[in-house]
Amino acid sequence: MTRAIGAGDDITLTELWADPYPAYAKLRQDEPVAWVPAVNRYLVTKHRDIVALERRPEIFSADETGSLMKRVMGHTMLRKDGPAHDRERTGAEAPMRPRPVRDHWTPLFQKTADDLIDGFAERGEADLFRDFAGPFAALNLAMMLGFDDVAAADLQEWSQALMDGTGNYGDVEAVWRRAEAAGAGVDQAVLRAVERLGAQPRPSLISAMLHAGDPLSVDEIRANVKMFIGGGLNEPRDSLATGLYALLCHPDQAQACIDDPALWRRAFEETIRWVAPIGMYPRQTTQEVELGGTVLPARAKLGIVLASAGRDEDVFDHPDDFDLRRKATHHISFGGGPHYCLGSFAARAEVSQVAWPTLFRRLRNLRLDPDNPVRWGGWVFRGVLNLPVRWDP
């Protein structure tokens, strides 16, 4: 039955990269769990089906066969199920809980923000994607990991190289080599951190994994740190830049946040609903199962389309609009179930408690640069690709 309708047959990768939302709207309408040949997966596009499948991790497994992520990073917690996953996850969790995020990390995020802004405040213009969001996310991630000696530029290069590797379905040799070089760089940095932190535990991720009740081995730490670097940098960067763009397009909403700082968090949740930084992630069925009207065979590869869930008209009124005053909503852009984002509270603090309020406070009359339009791209990861702005220096 599924194949007869074939709502996904015409979808192309080019179209998804440029603007995936029209294709998702059509899939939600016509065939919410559809085989899409261009991505070689079934795409799951309805909010309710995604919530339902994340409640059944034993059927919808994260341990995908032939995963390029495993090839590039090793077997990380993100691609494990059940107790094997929980052991590594538990080891990493403590420093990312809301309390240490507020008491320990937030003052450090604030320093990162102020130092970066000091570097360009007098210029009166900047590309806040390149000059702020990228380095801000990288420097904060280096701190959270427990890297004292890694430059933001290296971390950004490793992140990009590892991500390109996990998406190298075209088997391009140069991409593998660049990812391997990045992996080697991470391995050495982890070794140095482990030597340092072995003697002196600190509230960092590497330290937590090393000193956990059931400690992770150095190899396990290395794989997970690659996943943190590949996956913990883009999303805060992209949500920071994308949400800032939305706030600059809607000055009344920005002003509402400035007047009532409790609203910054709502602006953040609305940003990641509107454009989910992780637009799609993989799962694989362990048995035949029905989902959203489609019968999936065992070992079917799925793409869980969070980007589409955030625009689901059954859940959100006028879903394509950015509106932080919408009535309380339930986005699922941090995923669900056992793999629910480990960095969700850190990301909220970085972006909505530190970056946005500080930028609006320090850069007077902050506005979009009318001569340089913003560009968009991506579907697995999506956000603005630049953010040219001006202010009164």
């Binding site: 409640r55 809301p98 309390r99 309380a328 986005h331 995923g335 056992p338 629910y340």
Partner: protein
């Protein structure tokens, strides 16, 4: 099976049959109770199963572990003395007739 009342902000109440030994969160999800989201599936990782428990029942609940205490600092609606994560509360007979308030926001 004890009944637990989930009271919404508009005063309406969902009376939930809560199976002994299950978590209060899973009983609410099964019902389902609007406003109990439980994104992480009960792993004390998301704080989207937040409830305010009737003070009279406070001492009939299991004590709060450190993780739960630290997670409650991240709730979307303000934490109070009555705040708990419903996924960390295992239902017992003593909870029959207990009322919990559902917060305005979970995300």
């Amino acid at each position: 099976m004890p009944n637990v009342n989930f009271r919404h902000r508009d005063g309406s109440i969902d009376v939930v049959d809560a199976p002994l030994g299950s978590s209060l969160m899973s009983a609410a999800i099964k019902h389902p109770v609007d406003g109990i989201i439980a994104e992480c599936g009960g792993n004390a990782m998301c704080a989207t199963c937040h409830v305010y428990v009737d003070a009279a029942f406070g001492d009939r609940l299991p004590p709060m572990a450190e993780e739960e205490d630290e997670m409650l600092d991240g709730t979307a609606s303000a934490r109070t003395e009555r705040s708990r994560l419903s996924c960390q509360i295992v239902v017992t007979e003593e909870m029959a007739g207990m009322t919990v308030d559902v917060p305005a926001d979970q995300v």
